[in-house]
C-alpha cells in the first residue's frame, strides 16, 4: 500500500514531511583551519603598501567564499565551521594557511561505521535531502562487502525516471507477512486454505530496537512516534512498551522467551510480534493469544536448513541479524548471508510465502537497494538510527548487547522524531533514484533481482581473466 488514507478515506500519496533539524550537540568541524598570525600580518602590510588605502576592498578581499575569514578580524580568528575544504586559501597562501581534516571528526563512528558515513547520515538526518555534490567518486575502487557491489542501470528503456518527477509512479511499498503460493476456493467461492496475511509498508525500512546503551523513555518515544510518522514499524522491547505506556499500531513488541505473562499486560493488539530467538512455547503462546497478529522470528542468520525448518514450523516472517559490522556468527558478510537465505527459500519453492527482514551492517542509503537486490524484503535500521540521533560510538560497536553509544544530553522527542523522518525521507528518495536508474517501478520487484546486480569478483574475473598475475591473486 503506497498510499495512505486521510480521515475521509481519500487517497493521499505517501510522503515524509521533512523539516530542518540541525545538530543539537556541536560535533567537531570537518576541517581545521590554521593561519599563521605573523604571515598574515606581513601580508597585510605588504598589501597596504602595494594597493594603498584607496583600494581597501582589494586588501580585504578574502580567498574564502564560504565565510571562514569573514569574522570581525578576518584570518586572525578563522571560523572553521564554515570550511568546506576547497583549499583555495591554502593554495593562495601555502606558507601560512593550513587546512587539515579535523582528527576529532575522523574519530566519529568506528572501523565499520566510518566518518564518511557518519557525515552522510548527519546531512541526511538534518534536512532530509539527498547528498548531491560535484566532482566524481573519491573512494576506493571496490572492495569487500557492499563496496564490491554495483547496481545495474537501464540505458534507454523503461521510463521510470519520470516517477521521480511525479508523472509516473515508483512504488517503494513492500509486504510483510505471509502469502500462499496459490489460493484454494470452494464451490461458493470461499477460500478454503490459508489466505494472505500481510502488513503493507510504504517503505522497505523498519526501525530496529536500539541497543541497550541508548535505551531510555526518550529514545523509545522517539522510535514509536517516528515509526508512526513514516507509516512504518518499530521494534521495541516489550518491557519498554509496558513501562512507558507506548501505544500505537506501529509498535512491534520484541518478546523474549519467558515473557508470556508480560504479554498479557499489552493493551493493544500489535500487527506483529517479534520473537527474540526460537522458542516453541512462546511461539505457540503468541499464536493462541494473538491469532490476528503476525509473528516474526528475530535471530542471527541461521543455516539454510534451519531456516526451512522454522518455515515448516509456521514461521513466515524472519528478521535475520548480522552484527553491527555486517558479520554473521561465522564471519560471513551480511550480503552473502542474505543471498544464501533468499536462495534457500527460492530453491524450496516457498520464497513468496515468507518475508525476510534483515539488520546489521546496513548503514548507508545504498545498502537498502543492494540488500533488497540480494533478497531481503525490508531492512531494519539499527546503528544508522543512533547516528541520526547524534549518537557517538564509544569504541568499536559490534553488537546489540555490548555496544556502547552516548546520545546528546539535550535529546528531545520532537527533534529526534524529525531526524528519523528526515533520514527515512532521504533514503527513500535515494531508493527512488536507484530504482529509476534501474528502470524498476516497484521495490517489490527489485527483491532478489540478482541479474540487476554486479559484483566486483565477477566483473574482475570477466574482464581481467588472462592478465598475468590475476589468477594467482584471485586464488591466493
Amino acid at each position: 500500500m503506497e498510499q495512505r488514507e486521510n480521515g475521509n478515506g481519500r487517497y493521499v500519496r505517501y510522503h515524509v514531511e521533512t523539516q530542518p533539524a540541525p545538530e543539537i550537540e556541536k560535533w567537531p568541524d570537518r576541517f581545521d583551519v590554521k593561519v599563521g598570525k605573523f604571515g598574515l600580518a606581513k601580508l597585510l602590510v605588504s598589501e597596504i603598501f602595494h594597493y594603498g588605502f584607496k583600494h581597501k576592498e582589494a586588501i580585504t578581499s578574502r580567498p574564502c567564499m564560504y565565510g571562514v575569514f569573514s569574522g570581525p578580524v578576518g584570518g586572525f580568528a578563522p571560523r572553521p565551521q564554515h570550511c568546506v575544504g576547497c583549499l583555495r586559501c591554502t593554495t593562495e597562501f601555502p606558507e601560512f594557511v593550513t587546512v587539515s581534516p579535523n582528527p576529532e571528526r575522523l574519530k566519529l563512528g568506528d572501523s565499520y561505521f566510518t566518518f564518511n558515513i557518519v557525515n552522510a547520515i548527519s546531512y541526511e538526518a538534518e534536512g532530509g535531502m539527498i547528498p548531491v555534490k560535484g566532482a566524481g567518486y573519491r573512494g576506493k575502487f571496490g572492495g569487500q562487502g557492499w563496496e564490491g557491489m554495483w547496481t545495474d542501470m537501464s540505458e534507454i528503456v523503461r521510463p521510470t525516471r519520470d516517477g521521480i518527477h511525479g508523472r509516473e509512479f515508483i512504488s517503494t511499498a513492500v509486504d510483510i507477512g505471509y502469502k500462499p503460493n496459490f489460493l484454494v476456493f470452494d464451490s461458493q467461492g470461499q477460500a478454503l486454505g490459508p489466505v494472505p496475511q500481510v502488513i503493507s509498508l510504504p517503505v522497505p525500512i523498519l526501525l530496529d530496537a536500539l541497543p541497550p546503551s541508548t535505551a531510555s523513555e526518550m529514545t523509545w518515544k522517539i522510535m514509536a512516534q517516528a515509526s508512526e510518522s513514516i507509516a512504518s514499524l518499530s521494534i521495541i522491547p516489550l518491557g519498554a512498551i509496558l513501562e512507558y505506556n507506548l501505544e500505537n499500531m506501529h509498535l512491534l513488541p520484541l518478546v523474549k522467551p519467558g515473557e508470556q505473562e508480560a504479554l498479557e499486560l499489552l493493551t493493544i493488539t500489535p500487527q506483529m510480534l517479534v520473537m527474540q530467538g526460537w522458542d516453541q512455547a512462546l511461539f505457540d503462546y503468541i499464536r493462541s493469544v494473538f491469532p490476528e497478529s503476525l509473528i516474526s522470528l528475530r535471530m542471527p542468520f541461521p543455516s539454510s536448513e534451519r531456516l526451512l525448518e522454522f518455515a515448516q514450523k509456521g514461521v513466515h516472517v524472519f528478521h535475520l541479524m548480522a552484527n553491527y559490522h555486517g558479520r554473521g556468527e561465522n564471519g560471513e558478510f551480511v550480503m552473502d548471508l542474505i543471498r544464501q537465505a533468499h536462495a534457500a527459500f527460492v530453491q524450496a519453492g516457498i520464497r513468496e510465502e515468507v518475508t525476510l527482514i534483515g539488520s546489521g551492517g546496513m548503514i548507508a542509503a545504498e545498502h537498502i537497494p543492494k540488500a533488497i537486490l540480494c533478497g531481503l524484503d525490508a531492512v531494519a535500521l539499527d546503528t544508522a538510527l543512533v547516528v541520526a540521533l547524534q549518537g557517538r560510538f564509544q569504541g568499536e560497536c559490534l553488537d546489540y548487547e555490548t555496544s556502547h553509544f552516548t546520545l546528546p544530553n539535550n535529546l528531545n522527542v520532537e527533534w529526534g522524531v524529525q531526524r528519523l523522518m528526515n533520514l527515512t525521507a532521504s533514503w527513500r528518495d535515494q531508493l527512488l533514484e536507484i530504482s529509476g536508474a534501474m528502470g524498476i517501478r516497484e521495490v517489490r520487484r527489485m527483491r532478489g533481482e540478482m541479474g540487476r546486480a554486479m559484483f566486483m569478483v565477477d566483473l574482475e574475473a570477466q574482464s581481467f581473466a588472462g592478465i598475468e598475475g590475476y589468477e594467482f591473486a584471485k586464488n591466493s
Partner: protein
C-alpha cells in the same frame, strides 16, 4: 597603475596571481603539500603531478607519483609488462599516436593526432573562460572537445571545427546551426557519474546567459530527464541518428552511454543504429553535480566495461568498423595506455583537464556560486580567475606530457603505433590489491 584599474580588476588580479603562485609552489614541492588534498582515486601526488605537467609539459622528475592512485583496483592494480631495456624501441623512432574517428567505409574521414579528446562539460557547469581554454587547446592539438548539454556562447564559434556538439536528454542548447557546424555530434544517453539519471544544473549556476542559451528560466535548477523520451529501442535510436545525418550529412555520430551490465549489447545496438563512435563513460567519471549515491553504486567502472564491449564487438565482427572511446576515471597517461590495452581505441578526458587548471577535487562544484577556483562556475567574478590563454596552455602542456609518456610506454613495449596496443591484455600484469611491484 593600480589607480587605473577597477577594484574588481585588482581583486581578480590579486587572487589570480596568488593562485598561480600556489600551484607552482606545490607542484615544485617548494612548500609542504596541503594535508586535506587528495583522495583514493586522485591522490595528493596525482593532483600535484598534474599541476606540474600542466606547467612543464613533461612528467615530474622530482619523484612525485604521476602514473597511478591508491584506489586499490582497476588501473591502480594494473601495470605493463615492459620489455627488457635492450629491446625497447630507440628514442629516434617515430611513435604514431593518431586515431581515426570514423572506421566505416562511408562518411567523413577524421583523424586526430592523439587518442584523446575532451569530454562534455556544459556551459553553466563550467565557465565560458574554461570552455574557451578547452577549445583553444583542442585546436592546438587538432583534436576535439564536447560542449556538454547546454550549447555554447558565440565566442566559441570560431573553434567550431574542434567542437563536438552534444545532444542530451534535456536537449538544452541544441540548435540547428550548432549541429550543422559540428564535425561530430554526440548523443548523451547517460553519464558515468550518474547513470540512469539526467543532468543536474543547480539554480545558482543557471545565470541569465546560461538560461538564455538553454531557453530556460534564469536561476531555476535544471534537471534533464532520463532517458531520451523519444528513444526506447535501437530503432528509435536509429531515428535520432538519421535526424542528425539529415541536418548535417557530414557529421560523425558519437553515442555516449554508461556502463550497465548489458553494455556490450548497447554498444552493438548503437553500432547498428549508425554510430561511428561508441563512447563508454564509466561509473567513476566526473560531474558538476550528482547524487553521491549514484557515483559509486550504479553501473560498472570503465576498466570492466571496455574489455567486455571490445570482446563482444570482436565476436560480432564489427570491432574494426566502430571507434570505442572510454572515459570515467581516466586520470593519467598510464590510465590511457591501460584502457587502450584493455580494448578501447582512445579516451575522453574531463577531470584531468580541470585539475590542470587548478581543481583540487573538493567536490564543491555545485555549491552556491560554484567553484572557488573559477572552473565550474558562472559567477562573473570567479570565472575571471581563469583566462582562456593561460588555461589553454595548461591543458596543452598536460597533453604534451601525456603524449611524451604514452610514447615512452609504447617504446618500452616495442610498439610503434598506439593502434597496435588496442586489446593487448597480454601486455598487462595484475599487481594485486595493494598495487605493489609496479615497474619504474
Amino acid at each position: 597603475m593600480n589607480s587605473q584599474k577597477t577594484v574588481e580588476q585588482l581583486i581578480v588580479e590579486k587572487h589570480t596571481a596568488n593562485l598561480r603562485r600556489g600551484f607552482h609552489l606545490w607542484a615544485e614541492r617548494l612548500v609542504e603539500a596541503p594535508p586535506a588534498l587528495g583522495d583514493y582515486r586522485w591522490t595528493e601526488e596525482l593532483i600535484l603531478s598534474t599541476y606540474y605537467q600542466a606547467e612543464h609539459g613533461r612528467p615530474p622528475k622530482n619523484g612525485m607519483e604521476y602514473r597511478f592512485g591508491r584506489s586499490g583496483g582497476g588501473f591502480d592494480v594494473l601495470d605493463f609488462k615492459f620489455l627488457p631495456e635492450d629491446q625497447w624501441l630507440s628514442s629516434s623512432e617515430q611513435i604514431d599516436l593518431s586515431l581515426p574517428l570514423n572506421k566505416r567505409a562511408e562518411g567523413n574521414k577524421i583523424e586526430i593526432p592523439i587518442p584523446i579528446y575532451g569530454g562534455g562539460m556544459s556551459y553553466g557547469s563550467i565557465s565560458e573562460q574554461v570552455m574557451l581554454a578547452r577549445a583553444m587547446a583542442a585546436q592546438r592539438w587538432n583534436t576535439f572537445f564536447s560542449t556538454g548539454e547546454g550549447g555554447y556562447p558565440n565566442s566559441l564559434v570560431k573553434y567550431k571545427d574542434h567542437i563536438i556538439t552534444q545532444v542530451a536528454t534535456g536537449m538544452f542548447g541544441v540548435r540547428e546551426e550548432t549541429i550543422k557546424y559540428s564535425p561530430i555530434v554526440e548523443f548523451k544517453y547517460a553519464q558515468g557519474a550518474k547513470p540512469g539519471l539526467g543532468g543536474h544544473l543547480l539554480g545558482d549556476k543557471a545565470t541569465t546567459t546560461v538560461a538564455e542559451l538553454r531557453e530556460s528560466v534564469p536561476w531555476v535548477s535544471l534537471f534533464s530527464p532520463f532517458p531520451f523520451h523519444s528513444v526506447y529501442s535501437v530503432e528509435d535510436h536509429r531515428k535520432h541518428v538519421d535526424w542528425i545525418k539529415t541536418t548535417n550529412p557530414k557529421a560523425l555520430v558519437s553515442v555516449k552511454v554508461s556502463t550497465p551490465t548489458d553494455v556490450d549489447m548497447v554498444a552493438v545496438g548503437s553500432y547498428y543504429a549508425g554510430a561511428n563512435i561508441i563512447h563508454l563513460d564509466g561509473s567513476y567519471g566526473g560531474t558538476g553535480a550528482a547524487p553521491e549515491i549514484a557515483k559509486k553504486n550504479i553501473a560498472m567502472p570503465i576498466e570492466f566495461a571496455v574489455p567486455k564491449v571490445h570482446k563482444y564487438l570482436m565476436s560480432e565482427n564489427i570491432r574494426d568498423e566502430v571507434v570505442l572511446m572510454a572515459s570515467g576515471g581516466i586520470r593519467t597517461a598510464d590510465d590511457i595506455a591501460e584502457i587502450i590495452a584493455l580494448g578501447a581505441d582512445g579516451v575522453v578526458l574531463g577531470t584531468s583537464e580541470l585539475v590542470a587548471l587548478g581543481c583540487t577535487r573538493c567536490s564543491n562544484c555545485e555549491r552556491g556560486r560554484g567553484c572557488p577556483f573559477g572552473l565550474t562556475t558562472t559567477d562573473p567574478l570567479l570565472s575571471q580567475l581563469v583566462t582562456p590563454e593561460w588555461g589553454a596552455q595548461r591543458i596543452s602542456n598536460l597533453f604534451e606530457s601525456y603524449t611524451y609518456r604514452l610514447r615512452e610506454i609504447l617504446r618500452r613495449l616495442g610498439l610503434g603505433d598506439m593502434r597496435a596496443l588496442r586489446g593487448r591484455k597480454d601486455l598487462l600484469r595484475y599487481l594485486g590489491k595493494n598495487g605493489n611491484g609496479r615497474s619504474e
